[in-house]
């Protein structure tokens, strides 16, 4: 199996190349893909659906080259594998996380509105320019450097220092939160609310979280996950804040379109 190609037709303006089954890399990857490619008349934009394949920048670059030879122009990439998404974003592809869903032919692989309970784990440091997106909660074991971005439909949890941009509840979940061992983001977004980061970090050894209260994003001491789980879906927007609100003045809430 390996790779299958769905040409653009009717409602779909882009062709789609889906990689499935056992993952392969390097020359084997190119062979697998080449076998699946048809001869086309005229150029076509293409979405790469990489499934759970873990591909490096080098792999994707070679793949891109092969596809260009077949007049297929990759513009977007879907994957459930964070490393592949980060590599794709580094190459300038539009990246979209894909929910691991049963391979239904008719079902468009669009992430569902509600964040799935599955969390994503990324181990390592996110460097400036890296962009990690996922349709559920994202957990990063490592630092998020200035200039890096994380977008998650659920929470963003960083076991390390968060110094880049984080967007939790990217599909509209206002109860999502952004938590980090050291929270010093350049900008935080929760659902459609945007705020500037506080500039400095909180007391050392104190994990913090950014949550939305009364339409404003505030930073406070991180709460236990269990406390939150109980009221996760129906958190009252005017809940009395439990922790110390830090740097509220430094946060300038504004609605993004």
């Amino acid at each position: 199996m390996g790779a299958s190609f769905l040409p653009a037709s009717g409602s779909e303006f882009m062709g789609r190349l889906r990689l499935s089954g056992a993952s392969s890399r390097g020359p084997a990857l190119l062979q697998v893909v080449e076998a699946a490619l048809p001869r086309l008349n005229g150029r076509q934009s293409l979405e790469l659906d990489c499934g759970d394949w873990r591909l490096s920048c080098g792999d994707l670059e070679q793949l891109q080259e092969l596809l260009l030879q077949h007049d297929l122009h990759p513009v977007a990439l879907r994957s459930v594998e964070p490393h592949t998404i980060v590599a794709g974003a580094a190459l300038g592809l539009m990246t979209q996380p894909r929910m691991p869903a049963p391979q239904a032919q008719q079902q468009p692989p669009r992430p569902p509105q509600d964040p799935a309970p599955k969390a994503y784990l990324y181990e390592g440091r996110l460097h400036s320019g890296d962009c990690l997106e996922h349709g559920a909660t994202v957990v990063v074991l490592g630092d998020v450097n200035p200039g890096a971005q994380i977008r998650a439909a659920g929470d963003v949890i960083v076991w390390g220092r968060l110094r880049g941009m984080a967007h939790a509840g990217s599909q509209g979940n206002g109860a999502a939160r952004i938590a980090a061992l050291q929270l010093q983001p350049q900008q935080v977004r929760i659902a459609s609310t945007t705020a500037l980061g506080p500039g400095e970090h909180g007391p050392p050894g104190q994990p913090e979280q950014a949550v939305q209260r009364n339409g404003q994003i505030v930073i406070e001491a991180a709460t236990l996950l269990q406390d939150r789980m109980s009221g996760m879906t129906q958190r009252a927007p005017v809940a009395k804040s439990s922790g110390k609100i830090k740097a509220t003045n430094a946060l300038h809430p504004s609605s993004s379109p």
Binding site: S56, C57, G58, H83, V86, A87, A90, R125, L126, H127, S128, G129, D130, D143, N145, P146, G147, A148, R163
Partner: protein, 284 residues
Amino acid sequence: MPSSGFIAHIDALKTNNCRSIVLCSGKGGVGKTTLTANLGVALAKLGHKTCVVDADYGLRNLDLLLGLESRIVFTAQEVISGSCRLGQALVKHKHEANLMLMPAGNPRMMDWFNPEHMQNLITMLADSFDFILIDAPAGVEDGFKNAVAGASEAILVVNPEISSVRDADRVAGLLSSQGTVDLIQLVINRVRPRMVEKLDMMSIEDVLDILAVPLLGVVQEDEQVIISSNLGEPLALGKYKSPAGVAYGNIARRIQGEEIPISDINKPAGFIDRLGDFLSTRII
């Protein structure tokens, strides 16, 4: 500091007994070319056969800094197109017999040169050299990808300023996601201890805090660097005594695996040093 495990790691990196190291920074003007020229001289002085490769095809400068511009006959372009032999293009340094320059061809090379060409060039050079230093162009586009393609190690060159650190971080991310380079090390260039002391400049710790890349060396801002660049005589030749020249030598020795402590540049200078600084700035 290099530990024994680290040195074992360096040994493992050697293929054909040759180490190919790319010097890159993302941002321009941080001192990549100057560092390449000086490390080339310093490694050659330590007895290693060293080749410096100018991979900045658009804006070539390495030949100028080494004072070899007038001696170039053939370039990498002719080597790759097969119109000359490798040995014909290599330019031997005037004073350091162990140092050779592989000059860049004309700027049109940018249009056709690709990573495979670079890999071929480095493979050809690897047989006759202990060290190959590749001077990458600024930016993270094709020129950078070409320069990196032939290297198994990278040295990130960074100035203690926020834009340089940010760009270097991007480069570090690209290098690690491409996965072709096994070892990344950091040289912090053009540090002004006096400004760091007054908290007007990022300190070594601030830079390391963001980049988290092993530190290979620190070079102070030094007027002699500019003077020697204009003369085409790298400081590492040792004609003039200067802090930067010493730092280049130390970096070269750390590259070959020696354990040399990095002196604490943030330490406030003593009275004698200050007096010396004062006198030298007045006299020269």
